[in-house]
C-alpha cells in the first residue's frame, strides 16, 4: 500500500516570464508533518495554493490522496485548509461559521468538541472582528479540522501572533500530529518548523534547495560548534598550551571546535588541571542560523 498522501513531481508555475515555482518535487507520508520553509517570494504559498486546488499549475504533477486537486470537488472537506491570513464574514461568530461549514460539507463533526479542542468555546458567540488574532487562527484551524481530514494544509498558521498565542496553536498542531494526520506546514518561523516538522524543505527562488529532517539539514549545513566558558582570562593561556585557541571577551572564552567531542576534552582538561571556571555552554547552530546562511540576504520576515 502506497504510504504517500501527497506527491509533487516537477511542479512549475509561471506568471508570464516570471517563474514562481521552478520544477519542485517532494512527497509527504501518512502521519507526517512536512514543512515548506523559505524567504519572501520563495514560492511557498503558490505551491500550497496549487496543492489546495485554487491555483492552476503550469506543468508537473500533483497528486493528493490519489486525486489531482485542480478543479476537483472530491477533495473539498477531505483536505482541511487553514489559509494564510484566515478571514471570515464580519459579524459572524465562531458558532455561525462552524454551523455553516458543517452544513455545507455535510460533516458530522461535533462543534462544541472542536471549539473546546482549540480552546475558544467561551468565544463561540463573539463576532469575528472582535476575536484576537490568535482566536481567529484557532477558528480557522477548527474549520480546517471540522471534517476530520486525513490531510491538512496550514499556511503560516502563527503569522503575526504573539509568542503565547503561537504556542497555543503549536499545541493544537501537536495534537493533530498525535492523531496521525498528515500536515503540510508553511512557515517562516524556523523555530516552529524545528519543533513541529518531521521533515522540512527549504525553498528559495522557486526551487527546493534541500530536504530532510531539521537535524539532517543542520548537520549538513551548520558551521563548527562553539564552546563558551565563563572563567578568568588566564584560562585562555592554559588552553592554548594544549592546542585550543579561542577569543576572550567580557569574562567569556569562546572556542571554535574542530569536532564536537573536543568539548568533552576541554572540560575534562580543566577539571583534571584544577583550573577554575564558573560554567560553560556548547553552542550549536540552529535551523534558523543554517537557513539564513542558505537563503542569503532574502527577506524572511513575511511573504
Amino acid at each position: 500500500m502506497d504510504n504517500k498522501v501527497i506527491k509533487v513531481t516537477n511542479l512549475v508555475k509561471k506568471y508570464g516570464d516570471f517563474i514562481a515555482v521552478n520544477g519542485i518535487s517532494f512527497d509527504i507520508s501518512r502521519g507526517e508533518v512536512f514543512s515548506l520553509l523559505g524567504p519572501n517570494g520563495a514560492g511557498k504559498t503558490t505551491t500550497v495554493e496549487i496543492l489546495e486546488g485554487i491555483r492552476k499549475k503550469t506543468s508537473g504533477e500533483v497528486i493528493i490522496l490519489n486525486e489531482d486537486p485542480e478543479n476537483n470537488r472530491k477533495l473539498i472537506g477531505v483536505v482541511g485548509i487553514l489559509p494564510q491570513d484566515f478571514n471570515f464574514l464580519w459579524n459572524s461568530t465562531p458558532m455561525d461559521a462552524l454551523n455553516f461549514y458543517k452544513k455545507a460539507l455535510g460533516s458530522k463533526g461535533d462543534i462544541r468538541e472542536l471549539l473546546e479542542k482549540v480552546e475558544i468555546y467561551d468565544k463561540r458567540d463573539v463576532p469575528f472582528q472582535k476575536l484576537s488574532g490568535g482566536q481567529k487562527q484557532k477558528l480557522g484551524l477548527a474549520i480546517a479540522m471540522l471534517n476530520e481530514p486525513e490531510v491538512l494544509f496550514l499556511d503560516e498558521p502563527t503569522s503575526g501572533l504573539d509568542p503565547k498565542a503561537r504556542r497555543n496553536i503549536w499545541k493544537v498542531i501537536e495534537t493533530l500530529k498525535k492523531e496521525g494526520r498528515s500536515i503540510l506546514l508553511t512557515t517562516h518561523y524556523l523555530e516552529e518548523a524545528e519543533i513541529l516538522a518531521d521533515r522540512v524543505a527549504i525553498m528559495n527562488h522557486g526551487q527546493i534547495i534541500d530536504t530532510g529532517t531539521p537535524m539532517e539539514i543542520i548537520e549538513r549545513h551548520h558551521n563548527k560548534d562553539r564552546l563558551i566558558i565563563r572563567a578568568p582570562q588566564s584560562i585562555s593561556q592554559s588552553l592554548k598550551k594544549v592546542g585550543f585557541v579561542g577569543n576572550y571577551s567580557d569574562g567569556y572564552l569562546e572556542i571554535e571546535l574542530s569536532e564536537s567531542r573536543d568539548a568533552a576534552k576541554i572540560i575534562n582538561y580543566l577539571v583534571d588541571e584544577n583550573l577554575s571556571f564558573e560554567d560553560f555552554t556548547l553552542k550549536r547552530e540552529s535551523l534558523e542560523d543554517v537557513f539564513v546562511r542558505m537563503v542569503g540576504d532574502e527577506d524572511i520576515e513575511s511573504e
Binding site: 495554493e49 485554487i54 491555483r55 470537488r73 473539498i76 472537506g77 485548509i81 489559509p83 491570513d85 484566515f86 478571514n87 471570515f88 464574514l89 464580519w90 459579524n91 459572524s92 461568530t93 455561525d96 461559521a97 454551523n99 455553516f100 461549514y101 452544513k103 455545507a104 460539507l105 455535510g106 463576532p127 474549520i143
Partner: protein
C-alpha cells in the same frame, strides 16, 4: 454547471442573515431608508408635473370642425397624436396600452355644433394628476383658440374632462414603483462594494473551501437581499398608504406578480453588481463604477422622472436598460392595471435575469 444544492443555499443564507442582523446599524438604516425616501419624495416631488407625449384621439364624428380641432392639437407639437380607428373601443385601447391621456370627439359632436352652436369634447386623463391637469390645460387652450377662430360665435366648444384616475390614484402612487426600483438598485450598489472587499479580504477563497458553488452563493445572496427588500418595500408601501393616502392596485394576483418581478429584478441587479464588482480593484474605482451604472440607469429608466419629454434617443437607450422593464412592469401592474405586462415586460425581465445570473456565475471566480 453543477446542480444547485438547496442545503448550501440555506446554509449561506443563515450565515449571512445572522451576521447581518447582528449589526444594529444595518437594521436601523434598512428600516429607516424607505421611511426617509418616501417622506423626502412625498415632500419634494409632490408638486412636480409633466405631460405625456402620446395622446390618443378617437373621432367618432368626422367633419371639418372635428378634424380642424385634431389638426390644431397636432400643431401644438406637444402631443404625439394617435388617431384611433372609429370602430375601436377607446376604453379597451387605454387599458391595453398604458396610455396616459385620451380625447374623445363624441358621435353627436358635429350635429350638436351645427344645431346648437355648442358641443363637447371628452378628455380622459389616466396618469399623474399633475400631468393630467397640465394636459387638460393645453387642450383647453387649443379649444379656446378654436372658439375665437370661429367667427360670429361666442366661445362654445367645451372640453369636458373625465379624470378616470382621480377617483382612485393619488400623486404618491406614481412614486412608489420608482422607489421600489431604487431599493433594488441599493442592493446592487451593496454588491459592487461587497465583491471587491470579499476578494481583497480573501473571504471568497475561504467560502470556496466549504464546497458551496458560485451559483449557490449568488442565489443565496439574491434571496437574502430579496427578503430584505420586500421588508423595506412593505414599510415603504405602508407609509405611502398611511401618510400619503396611496391607492395602488394591490390584489393577490398583482402582489404575487410584484414578488416575481422583485425577485427577478433582484437576481438581475445582484448579477450586474457582481459583474461590476469584479472590475473594481480598489475603493475609488468601486465608487466610480457604482455611480456610472446607477445614475444613468436611475434617470434613463424613468425611476424618478418620466421620460415623456426626453429626446427619442434617450427613449431608445431606455429600451435597452433592464431597469426600464422592471419599472414599467410595476407601473403597469400597480398603477395602470394593465395585465398585458405578463405577456411582454415580465417575461423579458425574467429572461434578462436568468441571462445575467448565468453570465455572472460563469465569469465570477472565487480566486483571482
Amino acid at each position: 454547471m453543477r446542480i444547485l444544492n438547496l442545503n448550501n443555499i440555506i446554509a449561506y443564507f443563515k450565515l449571512h442573515s445572522r451576521a447581518y442582523f447582528r449589526s444594529k446599524g444595518s437594521i436601523f438604516f434598512q428600516l429607516a431608508f424607505p421611511i426617509i425616501l418616501m417622506i423626502i419624495f412625498g415632500a419634494i416631488f409632490g408638486g412636480s408635473s409633466t405631460a405625456p407625449t402620446q395622446l390618443v384621439i378617437q373621432n367618432e364624428s368626422p367633419s371639418q370642425i372635428s378634424w380642424e380641432i385634431v389638426n390644431a392639437i397636432n400643431d401644438t407639437g406637444i402631443f404625439k397624436v394617435k388617431i384611433l380607428n372609429e370602430n375601436s373601443s377607446i376604453n379597451s385601447y387605454i387599458s391595453d396600452n398604458s396610455v396616459s391621456a385620451a380625447l374623445l370627439i363624441p358621435k353627436n359632436f358635429t350635429q350638436n355644433f351645427a344645431m346648437n352652436g355648442s358641443a363637447s369634447l371628452i378628455f380622459t386623463g389616466i396618469g399623474n394628476p399633475q400631468e393630467e391637469q397640465q394636459e387638460y390645460q393645453i387642450l383647453n387652450n387649443v379649444v379656446t383658440s378654436m372658439n375665437y377662430k370661429i367667427e360670429g360665435k361666442n366661445p362654445s366648444l367645451v372640453l369636458k374632462s373625465d379624470y378616470i384616475s382621480q377617483q382612485s390614484l393619488k400623486e404618491v402612487d406614481f412614486y412608489v414603483p420608482g422607489l421600489i426600483g431604487f431599493t433594488i438598485l441599493n442592493s446592487m450598489f451593496a454588491m459592487i462594494y461587497q465583491v471587491p472587499n470579499y476578494r481583497k479580504d480573501r473571504i471568497f477563497r475561504q467560502l470556496s473551501f466549504s464546497g458551496i458553488s458560485k451559483g449557490e452563493w449568488v442565489i443565496s445572496t439574491a434571496l437574502f437581499n430579496f427578503l430584505l427588500t420586500v421588508l423595506s418595500d412593505a414599510i415603504l408601501v405602508i407609509i405611502a398608504y398611511t401618510l400619503f393616502g396611496a391607492s395602488l392596485n394591490f390584489t393577490i394576483l398583482t402582489s404575487l406578480v410584484t414578488l416575481v418581478i422583485l425577485f427577478s429584478g433582484m437576481l438581475l441587479f445582484i448579477g450586474i453588481g457582481i459583474l461590476a464588482g469584479m472590475v473594481s480593484d480598489n475603493e475609488e474605482t468601486v465608487s466610480v463604477i457604482g455611480n456610472l451604472i446607477i445614475f444613468p440607469m436611475m434617470f434613463l429608466s424613468g425611476v424618478f422622472f418620466p421620460l415623456a419629454f426626453a429626446p427619442s434617443y434617450v427613449k431608445t437607450i431606455s429600451d435597452f436598460l433592464p431597469l426600464t422593464y422592471f419599472i414599467n412592469s410595476l407601473n403597469d401592474m400597480l398603477i395602470y392595471k394593465n395585465y398585458s405586462v405578463l405577456e411582454l415586460e415580465v417575461p423579458i425581465l425574467i429572461v434578462f435575469s436568468i441571462a445575467i445570473f448565468l453570465i455572472s456565475v460563469k465569469l465570477f471566480k472565487w480566486n483571482e
